[in-house]
Symmetry: C2
Subunit: 220 residues, 2 copies
Amino acid sequence: MFTHAEENYLKAIFHLEQELQGEVSTNAIAEQMETKPSSVTDMVQKLADKELLSYKKYKGAILTAAGRKTAADVIRKHRLWEVFLVDKLNFHWDEVHAIAEQLEHIQSEELIERLDRFLGSPDFDPHGDPIPDQHGNIKRTEKKLLSELDKGKRGVCVGVKESSSDFLQYLDRKKITIGTKIHVLGKEFFDGSMMLQVGKDQFFISKKTAENLFVQIQES
Amino acid sequence: MFTHAEENYLKAIFHLEQELQGEVSTNAIAEQMETKPSSVTDMVQKLADKELLSYKKYKGAILTAAGRKTAADVIRKHRLWEVFLVDKLNFHWDEVHAIAEQLEHIQSEELIERLDRFLGSPDFDPHGDPIPDQHGNIKRTEKKLLSELDKGKRGVCVGVKESSSDFLQYLDRKKITIGTKIHVLGKEFFDGSMMLQVGKDQFFISKKTAENLFVQIQES
DNA sequence: AAATATTTTTAGTCTTAGCTAAAAATAAAA
DNA sequence: TTTTATTTTTAGCTAAGACTAAAAATATTT
């Protein structure tokens, strides 16, 4: 349907639109794509011809509904493949991006729907980012840092903020991974450390740890 | 490392070399690749510059060791992904080729070795073709039709010859799939039908069925 | 062996997607 | 409001990989 380059541009513009809340400048796209502004102008004009975005010279670009859907599909594929790599092939959360960048361009509706089912239709990727559904809808979610939860609250681990190898290995030892339910048993004011319940285990974590774990809040 | 186009040429030439037992003509490659001979000449010259094959004008091409290794790697990836699609995502044997054609170009040693382990290091793809190992070695194997086995012999199902949807569904019902062990209990001369033992079940199959199933012979 | 047919290569063109350098438009500063 | 700075676009080039048409080499007939 679309070339890899086209898909990459749409994805970049999609992300920038969210970040900037509006139309995206040529320079912004060039920076995101690590390419030159002149190349961006060419591509943006091509995508405008294909009605994937609307564009007025010197005014920047915004995706059309079609462009947004296409971008969401690519992001859906990227994030589903990341889940596959982590859950099934035991990659670490920080090793999967470059591979998913390639896999996201594989063309097959059937494949991606089967992959989704195989993975148990996950809502989040290993970095805690939400996975768009078949229609391109993204569950805009309250992704919070664990450190923002108060005593007594429950959350599901949906990702990490910084993902150093050391930190990920620490989480492995504590048996914390995507989907792990975390119950905040207590929170110390003076140093921000927390007492957690994870499965049957209870243990302390430092403020630093709590500030690097994303959770989705569980209604309770 | 190499472009998709380069990898596709190497793969095509690899297959043709085996089939023709020697150097491969420009026209043969063009036919296999569904492209024009002039395009082939260009690419073959480029691949010769990169020392992936040796080529003398008007004389055809043969892969170098490096070229053969690269081709085997692509074929390894293709066939491992086919196993994934059939074993894990429940695709049918005849639906997977086009998708594997895309997946075979994903670049990541780590990915493919993890995928291999995840799939249980299979020796054959869903069509019964052998999967090259990490070093590019292919288990040249005695792939025979089930109909060629005599009474008392044992084989492992490694693929199908014709793969109509009806036939594949018939095999599903009989619980025959890749890796299934088949014991020939009896064989009728007059119609070529066979009595088989598959797991705990025993049943008859027609000559037509036996002529469309590939097996690898088990030493016994 | 000469004529004809086939195969292969060369030469030149196209598209995609990048680049540089220069021109044009817009934005910011004096 | 000019001048200067920044951003964006245009124009023209490059490489990969396809194509067509024509030329050259090899094979096959007669």
